[in-house]
């Protein structure tokens, strides 16, 4: 067999081995999404926010946050949520968010935040930046229920405040 023929026959398996070896490893394609729901409590004149985050991801992000901001292990989940979920009034002034607890539900942690909102939900602005520091393809959704209506807003990395 001539050298040219040998080279041609050998080149295909060699090329395939090179492709297999240099192909990027790919984990299963997860859906990096966090969902937050905002409801209005007319009796207390406050909004309540429930943020659903996968526990594994929340641990990674809040541990890094706690290290940088000297947050305690007991409060780091909520501290992280308060730092990355923003609610602002019509003029853009952030509302002070207080914790109303957290609970694990399956693979998720449900984090509860609340804030006084005498004028209700309409006109409020939000930014849901939870886990943006962890994943470039993170997509977060905020859903709000008020006056019998539902409104949804989508956030990707780099997004600022959006009106509900």
């Amino acid at each position: 067999m001539k050298l040219a023929s040998v080279t041609r026959v050998a080149s295909l398996p060699i090329a395939l081995v090179v492709i297999a070896a240099t192909a990027r490893s790919l984990d299963a394609h997860p859906l990096h999404t966090s969902l937050a729901e905002i409801v209005y409590d007319p009796a207390a004149k406050e909004i309540r926010i429930s943020i659903r985050v996968f526990i594994d991801d929340l641990k990674k992000a809040s541990t890094a946050y706690a290290r940088a901001h000297k947050s305690s292990p007991q409060t780091m989940f909520i501290d992280y949520a308060r730092s990355s979920f923003i609610v602002a009034d019509r003029s853009g002034h952030p509302l002070g968010l207080a914790s109303c607890g957290s609970k694990p539900v399956g693979d998720l942690m449900w984090l509860c935040l609340r804030a006084p909102a005498p004028a209700g939900i309409a006109g409020l602005q939000v930014a849901h930046r939870v886990l943006f520091d962890l994943y470039a393809d993170q997509i977060n959704i905020v859903q709000a229920s008020y006056n019998g209506k539902r409104s949804s807003v989508l956030f990707t990395r780099g997004d600022g405040l959006k009106k509900l």
Binding site: H29, L31, L35, I139
Partner: protein, 202 residues
């Protein structure tokens, strides 16, 4: 309601039109690899059948009607890509295949069942209530994303044909198509086989 539908459409669209979705994109490329530009309706039909397949699993898994072993599913996704590439290479006359013209959409739908199970776990955890509209919007977004990927795949396949014709100008059109199918299917198969080995659950 419209903002909710549109939001979840965006979620589905962005989930597919994303380089992190390379397993999904390569599967679509493998599905499209056998078609000529004039076969675009067949390609669209196959991709839609794939969407129907994964919408079914997604609905069953999200509503809790079916619980799926996620590690096995993650392994099976690249296996479906390998199987599609093998089918591309082996089957040369699809008109005489069992089920005739419906044969390829059928197998795309069956493989879609596997792919849908891949992200059902994430959605089930997130949407514990009011899932119908988000799920519908998500699936519509996935389908729109797939059409965009299919359009890019068509451009890529045309470029591959031009490159083959440039390198071997004497080749007739059917031979060019065959060579394109062999080259693309072989490369995609090798990459997917590596992912399957990496995700081996045993």
């Amino acid at each position: 309601m419209m903002s909710e539908l549109f939001t979840f459409m965006q979620l589905g669209f962005r989930h597919i039109v994303n380089l992190e979705a390379m397993d999904h994109i390569l599967f679509l490329l493998a599905l499209a690899a056998i078609y000529r530009p004039r076969d675009w309706r067949s390609a669209l039909w196959v991709v839609t059948a794939f969407t129907v397949g994964h919408s079914i699993t997604l609905a069953l898994a999200v509503t809790g009607a079916m619980v799926l072993p996620i590690k096995l599913i993650e392994f099976l996704i690249p296996v479906t890509i390998v199987a599609t590439c093998i089918e591309n290479i082996i089957v040369r006359d699809r008109a005489t295949a069992p089920l005739g013209r419906r044969y390829r959409p059928m197998f795309a739908a069956v493989f879609g069942l596997v792919h849908g199970a891949g992200f059902a776990d994430y959605l089930r955890n997130l949407f514990v209530d009011r899932i119908a509209l988000p799920l519908f919007g998500f699936n519509v977004g996935i389908e729109l994303g797939q059409i965009v990927v299919l359009a890019f795949a068509a451009v890529f396949l045309l470029a591959a044909d031009r490159a083959i014709q440039y390198a071997r100008s004497s080749l007739p059109a059917p031979a060019t198509l065959r060579l394109r199918v062999l080259m693309i299917s072989t490369v995609v198969m090798v990459v997917a086989a590596r992912w399957a080995i990496e995700r081996n659950p045993w």
